[in-house]
Amino acid sequence: MSDTAPLTPLERIADAPADHYRVLRISELDGDGLLELSRFMKLSLSREDMLAIQTLYAEWGREPTDVELEVIAQTWSEHCKHRIFGATIEHEGSDGPETIHSLFKTYIRDVSQRIFDQKPDFVLSAFHDNAGFIRLDDDLAVCLKAETHNHPSAIEPYAGANTGLGGVIRDILGAGKGAKPIGSIDVFCFGSPDTPADRIRAQDVIHPLGMMRGVVRGVRDYGNRMGIPTISGAIQFDDAYIYNPLVFCGTAGVIPIADIEKKVETGHKVIAVGGRTGRDGLHGATFSSAALDTDSHETDQQAVQIGNPIEEKKAADFVLAAREKGLIEFITDCGAGGFSSAAGEMLEESGGTIDLDQVKLKEPGLVSWEIFISESQERMVLAVKESSLPELRKLAELYETELTELGEADGSGVLKVAHHGRIVCELDGSRLHDAPIRELRSHWTKPSTSPDASTPQVEDAGEMLRELLGDFAIASREPIIREYDHEVQGNTVLKPLAGASGDAPQDATVLRINGSKRLLALGLSLLPEWGKSDPYAMGVACVDECIRQLVAAGADPDRLAILDNFCMGNPDDEKELGALVETVKGIAFAAEAYNSPFVSGKDSFYNYFQTEDGPVSIPVTVLISGMGIIEEENHVIGASLRRKDSLLAIIGTTTGDLGGSVFARRNGIVEAAVPETRTEEALQCYRKYYEAVKSGLIRSAHDVSEGGLAVTLAEMAFSGKAGLEIDLCSLPMDDLAGKAAMLFGESPSRLVIEVAPKDFDKVANLFDGLPFAALGRATGSHANLRIEWGKEILLDQPISDLKAIWKESLARYY
């Protein structure tokens, strides 16, 4: 050993020699020294956090081991602890100055709790397990979980997205005593696939087209191999996502209600099942809690895990068989933080021992902390009765997966980790709950808007419609959808592409559930363009759109539950954080207005990148995904035109506000206000619509979203069943709505419905007093989309031409 080499911050305070673990004398360090140590060990802990840890150990009268510091770093990471959603925020926004004590408690948990109280026995578990459960019927519950895998995907799109989906599938397997994954959703935000190379202002950044292909294939290869249909998704394209793409993966599951509650008791054995543990995926949790830069592409490779879906498939088969046989007492997945998080969660109350010598390794020579926090994929951790072990071993052999006994729960309340005959970690979990509460400041001022901005002239509405259908925001996702096996399990009854021609877009997707006559609808919404000028309105509108999709597909508006997934740039930037706070307030308001609770959520921060021109942050982005219960198969409603004799009607008010719309973006309209969501009126409409569904009065229904009413009508007609003759003269609208807003505005809460002529009056009567109007009729006499306004023909386009544009636009780039 050279005695001239400078000692690293770690070596300066470690007990030499470096062994499988070390005791670190942090009591000697000052704030700067502690912060330097945190950075060197990649703990992503702040100076305050490190000082708090120092105080804790001073109280205990000892020094921490490196394993313990790593465990605390995982536990307190933004990824695991959601410290910004728990922070105290001094906010100045639309409601004046205020102090928010935890966004999560104030706007997510407490709002949801009020709704739970009104709907007893509907939400069966929320926020504490790996996914939230709602009741499907007397015996079964369904759950949904969505996560992001943004940073790994930025560095390695295929592996990042691959393990992103693999991870959320394990969340479902680890929800309750092991839910069965039945469907996945994927939502991506990328730069535009035609981004010129010179617009990318940093080295080593993967071009959006390569990003899109890599991410899609990563999702494809995991989902398809696992045999879980990827049935629903969305893609947003915006320059702001070039450096930091967003990759949301979600999975839904089903479980017998009796298997939701799980508990670890003294004497239970802790076992690991599935893949082995290696050096892949070290510091994933802490890595995702920091910003990206060009160096990330070099140095953080180790944080990206390697997926092996067949390993997970075998583990999944084992888990589901073991749960059906009643052999599981507690289960959780090995996700961020690896065994340390899983064992920590499992032994939080009971305490117990984990023996790292038992862990099966991919390679020799891993030191204690590496084994304990490695995020190697495809591992599940279970607590089981000792008497169940022989049968579990047989099952593991049958499904060819590896089962390892790791330790046991001992009732001591203390987590002890042994390795090579030493206790390398001894932590009282109850003392780790209280990470220092962060104190942040934020503000938000709505940019000024001008009413004039919303009334541009539309010279050629037909040409505008063609442009919009070819816009990447609207164009068909068919080439991507067909890469996903969305039919496996044989239960996909409303597919992402359907209608008479099998390639027309739908809103929600619907799954049949084995063993139930009820069905599950999945929907989602994100509107980042809206948030740029009005994050509060974005939050409300996202909840509205997700709920509207579920209701449109036939779900009961009183049996819906939603998830919130947030992504933002730098939370230390007061304006960016202000936008987040406004968004949270928006979704909370809407959830309460629609009486649809949150049951799970997740957030991702530091989605910004240091380019040559300075930091580029993503716009605050919220994904609202949701599940809805459909009472019976006859209630499932698609979004494609079915008959030549049908009449069409619109539900909901069209307003003049063009802000946030694809039309506004294409026409360079910047000062337009985004539309307000009239939640009270909307909920009344959704309930009336559901009555119409139950009475069998609705043939099809499509939501009005990106591209506005003209795009909605075109998409409905893409089934190829009929032409459409539409007259907008009785459209329910406000005074400011001009032709552009009528045709292409995106005011929320609107649905276009297809109704049989004989049923039309019945439907119209249902909506008495609500915004509802006849729009026109389907026809067999031509195959055009013809939209008139009184005597004026606004557009008259062959549907097949429109469809070709819509189908080709993205396909060319994929």
Binding site: N224, R225, K313, Y399, R482, E487, G490, L497, A498, G499
Partner: protein
């Protein structure tokens, strides 16, 4: 009392269509067991009428699809599966199962290679029924739809003429109505010369119910069965009837010593 025929569904690591395939088999009357491959022994086939290999990615299919599964089968069963067929047993391979059967040499020679577009294809296809006497296909119309979902579904033979020959001699039981993936002679499914072994890329188990169809107004199959069922159901029901009738006849034949092999349903 009538004994219901038994179907044995083999599950490899990575097999992922077993639940819905078992559901389809049970819907038409088979007593069905899903058996993880680790538990398979030659004697497991005793008393079984039908062996099914369903869709999925056996062992990940990272090399040629179905290759490792076929090697494991040979190691576990030796000649037992061939003997099973020779003794009147039925063998069905769907998607990955078709790929495995091809690797096992239980079907006319051919390989399933990557689709011409080079990507996974999940879509519905129209099929031509070229084996209307097949025990599997006899109740299905001349044309019907099923979904496909695969990346290696293109059937090729060493010489395109060989594939043409399969169409002429009836080995090509199912053809794609359109060229969807570059399969020689548009072949979607092959049967062996006994007609009891069928391999097909499309997934009949995914069209068990009428509601599985993408068009809510789908109405191609007459309503005789009640409105619940789709085309896939008819395939499994055809097979069930062929097996139960065959077993009944066999039971009646037990008094006679003359053994006539079942006629070739070409």
């Amino acid at each position: 009392m009538e004994r219901k025929p038994c179907a044995l569904l083999l599950k490899f690591p990575g097999t992922n269509c077993d639940t819905e395939t078992a559901r389809a088999l049970e819907a038409v009357g088979f007593v069905t067991e899903i058996l993880p491959i680790s538990a398979l022994k030659p004697e497991t086939l005793v008393g079984v009428s039908l062996v099914v290999m369903s869709g999925g990615f056996s062992y990940g299919d990272y090399i040629v699809s179905g290759r490792i599964a076929s090697l494991v089968m040979e190691e576990k069963l030796g000649d037992t599966l061939r003997e099973f067929r020779d003794n009147g047993g039925y063998v069905l391979g769907i998607c990955n199962g078709f790929q495995i059967l091809s690797q096992l040499g239980l079907l006319p020679p051919g390989s399933l290679v990557p689709n011409t577009i080079g990507r996974f294809q999940c879509q519905w296809v129209r099929l031509e029924n070229r084996a209307r006497k097949s025990p599997y296909l006899c109740h299905l119309p001349e044309e019907f739809e099923l979904p496909i979902a695969n990346v290696e579904g293109r059937l090729v033979t060493s010489d395109p003429a060989e594939a043409e020959g399969y169409v002429k001699d009836g080995a090509a039981a199912l053809l794609y109505a359109d060229d969807v993936n570059g399969s020689f002679s548009r072949i979607a499914g092959l049967q062996d010369e006994t007609g009891r072994v069928l391999g097909l890329m499309p997934h009949p188990e995914r069209f068990l119910y009428r509601r599985n169809h993408y068009d809510p107004d789908w109405d191609e199959i007459p309503d005789s069965e009640g409105s619940e069922w789709g085309s896939g159901y008819l395939m499994f029901r055809s097979l069930y009837q062929a097996i139960t009738e065959g077993e009944k006849n066999q039971a009646e034949d037990l008094t006679s010593t003359a053994h006539t092999p079942p006629s070739l349903p070409v």
